[in-house]
């Protein structure tokens, strides 16, 4: 078992970017694979292109989404490394709580004699 006080650091800008239901929906759509245009993202989410653009720029600043150009169209894709990092951080914190709750449970159910 890993020491519960493992060296973990929160990717804070990332959590701020994802702490919004609309942006999470965009992330979920991009996660399905193909890079998408702002028009495609807007029609699927029933949002204006301006709103989608604003959210994509927040995601880009956090390193979650990256733009690329295909012909005349700008397409957006996910950069999964940042999200994997967020997962690693939260997994580390959650694991610490699992260990602590297990110790609390053991101390009450099998008290040392």
């Amino acid at each position: 078992m890993k020491a519960p006080e493992s060296r973990v650091r929160p990717p804070s800008a990332l959590f701020a970017a994802l702490g919004d239901a609309t942006r999470l929906r965009i992330v979920v759509r991009l996660a399905r694979g193909e890079p998408l245009s702002i028009k495609q993202l807007a029609s699927g989410a029933r949002m204006t292109r301006q709103a989608v653009t604003k959210h994509l720029h927040v995601l880009a600043a956090a390193g979650v989404a990256t733009p690329s150009r295909q012909g005349r169209e700008q397409l957006w894709a996910l950069d999964r490394r940042q999200l994997a990092q967020a997962r690693l951080f939260l997994d580390g914190v959650a694991q610490q709580w699992d260990v602590r709750l297990a110790r609390l449970k053991a101390s009450l159910e099998d008290p040392p004699r």
Binding site: E5, P10, P11, F15, R81, Q85, F89, R100, L104
Partner: protein
């Protein structure tokens, strides 16, 4: 609250709620299962309790503190703190803290304790990790939970 911005963990304990509450909020009892020691005497709303870790390893004797928010007898206990391990070289003093809330619930044969930690989005830019690894397994798991969260309409 987005699922990526909070942690929630629960466990069932075969003990009455009053007993679990005492283990949670009596500072002496708390220190035993939390693997910490403190020179303070009791948890009180508004108090800052200073601990040293007694968990064997690189963070042994590392100091940390919690600022007590709420104590609602046998129901709810909450504090703010700087989550995870602190790098001694890193000054976290000015950083926002996360909120940790314990709640207790009677269930047949014992008590369910739930811990919820929120506020990761508030954390300071200075603690952004500079190095990370690709983790496809973790990623797939995360996407699956996102899909569940938003359902088919996502």
């Amino acid at each position: 609250m987005s699922p990526l911005n909070q942690i929630q963990r629960s466990t069932f304990i075969r003990a009455p709620r009053s007993r679990v509450w005492r283990a949670l909020t009596d500072l002496g009892e708390f220190c035993k299962w939390f693997s910490a020691e403190s020179d303070d005497s009791a948890f009180q709303p508004g108090a800052r309790i200073v601990f040293r870790s007694t968990y064997p390893g690189p963070y042994y004797k590392m100091q940390f503190h919690v600022d007590i928010e709420e104590i609602v007898p046998e129901e709810k206990f909450s504090w703010r703190w700087h989550p995870g391990a602190k790098d001694p070289a890193l000054d976290v003093t000015g950083e926002p803290m996360t909120l940790v809330t314990f709640t207790l619930e009677d269930v047949e044969g014992g008590t369910t304790i739930t811990v919820t930690e929120t506020g990761f989005d508030q954390l300071f830019e200075a603690r952004r990790a500079s190095v990370f690894e690709q983790n496809e397994g973790g990623w797939k798991h995360q996407m699956a939970s996102l899909e569940r969260y938003f359902g088919e309409g996502a």
